[in-house]
């Protein structure tokens, strides 16, 4: 079944390991050029030169053959919001007044920001829990670029970054997980506290502060000095595997003791998604998240994880407008969103 409109990146394919709980894995590396002041201190001419040099390096290493480079003008709103929703650029980057550039691979697994807080911030995303894939690709890009550029590095402090919080490996490794069962059984605090206890950071993906929508969480490392890249990754991977086990156990429990209630919630969500004429972004995310649980548990069979994960991106405000090719007010978006969702989830 081919849903109308909307192509999304390969990493959203939901074909990766443990996809029932883990949406994606990301490895991000921060690097700076040796003889240029850090972005916030550099002059516009430095910014431009950095962009040219990095762009050149990407071309010489073959990355431009399967990707494109976006200039400053193409990074303003609403394009910026679109990129943020797809996890290809950070809000700071989009909001920045510095001259910047962005490389995105065609399959959207790889993106590289030039002149964010550091001269280079690049990342690779993989589907499911898959650090080997994400890290080897990020390391390969790092090595290839390093053959063309001169990084700021010291044997004592490692890769030098504008903010000491990113020093050393310059690596931020993270996983995006879906934990609806742990939230329902109220074990989520305990589980996440375990991650925080060993120095990892946990934050809800959608929504501000304590208001997390859809029960999606991001777990990432906070320390970047004193451990090798692989040690850091192993720590997150271990915790992720524990969290996966807990979530699956909680899901089993729900299916055993509260099966009818779970099915009710899932099918009510599906009903609303198939019937609503107006859907806000927040409501859509909550409903789609419930649907995702239903699909992962095998309660809903006519829809697969990939379709659900695609929907999560395509209902976001900027993505919706880009997909429809129109600029819309909030009210118009809510209506068109509902239409798009209905058309995507038609009964087979």
């Amino acid at each position: 079944m081919n849903p109308p409109g909307g192509v999304v990146g390969k990493w959203l394919a939901a074909t990766g390991p443990e996809a029932d709980v883990v949406l994606s894995t990301r490895v991000r590396l921060a690097r700076n050029l040796a003889d240029v002041p850090f972005t916030h201190r550099a002059k516009p001419r430095d910014h431009e030169r950095t962009i040219e040099v990095v762009r050149w390096a990407l071309a010489d290493t073959g990355y431009m053959e399967n990707g494109k480079f976006l200039d400053n003008e193409h990074l303003a709103e609403p394009q910026g919001q679109y990129l943020i929703e797809r996890h290809l650029a950070s809000p700071d980057f989009v909001a920045s007044k510095a001259t910047r550039g962005l490389y995105i691979s065609d399959d959207e697994t790889t993106s590289l920001m030039v002149n964010e807080e550091d001269h280079l911030r690049f990342q690779v995303m993989a589907s499911g829990l898959d650090f080997p894939e994400a890290f080897t690709a990020a390391a390969a890009l790092d090595e290839k670029l390093e053959g063309q550029l001169q990084y700021a590095f010291s044997p004592e402090f490692g890769f030098l970054t504008a903010c000491p919080t990113n020093l050393g490996t310059g690596m931020r490794a993270s996983v995006l997980v879906h934990l609806p069962a742990l939230v329902i059984t109220r074990e989520i605090e305990k589980v996440l506290r375990g991650a925080i206890h060993i120095g990892l950071a946990v934050r809800g993906l959608y929504g501000e502060g304590s208001e997390t929508k859809g029960n999606f969480f991001q777990i990432s490392n906070q320390k970047t000095v004193g451990q090798t890249e692989w040690e850091i990754i192993e720590t997150i991977a271990d915790i992720s595997r524990q969290v996966i086990t807990y979530e699956r156990k909680a899901r089993e429990y729900l299916m055993k003791k509260l099966r009818v209630e779970v099915e009710d919630k899932v099918f009510r969500s599906l009903g609303l998604l198939r019937g609503a004429r107006v859907l806000s972004s927040d409501e859509a995310i909550n409903l789609i998240a419930s649907l995702r649980l239903g699909v992962a548990l095998g309660i809903v069979n006519e829809i697969n994880l990939e379709q659900v994960t695609r929907l999560l991106i395509l209902v976001r405000p900027a993505n919706l407008q880009v997909m429809l090719g129109e600029s819309l007010t909030a009210a118009e978006r809510d209506e068109r969103r509902a239409t798009f969702v209905r058309e995507t989830l038609v009964h087979p």
Partner: protein
């Protein structure tokens, strides 16, 4: 009336903490005259002074931090504390000692053990040189200094051929 512990005569009007030779803190009651002679401040005044002393200390630290400046980009350590970001790679040298405890606090470690940066020097240098020459060439053309532009163009060609 409580009698002064020091002179045994005057009325004790204030308490003063003293550190004796063994490092023990004791409190004695003294009269105004003895206090004045020995330069003891009233405990109350001392508390107010403590606040002033801390402010004074902070100002001195900030001043010292403002004077500590990166040899390359000119960022002061005080500015770094305000912005949370360093100015360039050399800041890590200029502020090395000040940064160590901060790095330890953030990462529980101060020695990098991960991957290292290795080569790319020659390529990188070449790219930077070419970029600079291109900029100079474009500047010369804009200034209509065609002699200079021609010289730069030749230099550029030679560099790119390396």
């Amino acid at each position: 009336m409580k009698v002064c512990d020091l002179c045994g005569k005057g009325e004790a009007t204030m308490k003063v903490s003293q550190l004796d030779k063994e490092g023990k803190v004791t409190e004695i009651a003294v009269c105004a005259e003895c206090a004045r002679q020995r330069g003891f401040a009233e405990v109350e005044k001392l508390k107010a002074n403590a606040a002033e002393i801390l402010t004074e200390l902070k100002t001195r630290i900030d001043e010292a931090d403002s004077r500590l400046v990166c040899r390359s980009c000119g960022l002061s350590y005080a500015e770094f504390k305000r912005l949370g970001r360093l100015g360039c790679s050399d800041c890590y040298v200029s502020f090395h000692d000040e940064l160590l405890p901060l790095i330890r606090r953030i990462h529980d470690a101060v020695q990098h053990v991960g991957r290292s940066a290795s080569g790319g020097r020659k390529q990188a240098q070449m790219k930077m040189n070419v970029q600079r020459l291109r900029e100079a060439l474009s500047g010369a053309i804009q200034d209509e200094d065609y002699e200079k532009a021609a010289a730069l163009r030749d230099q550029l060609r030679r560099t790119e051929e390396e």
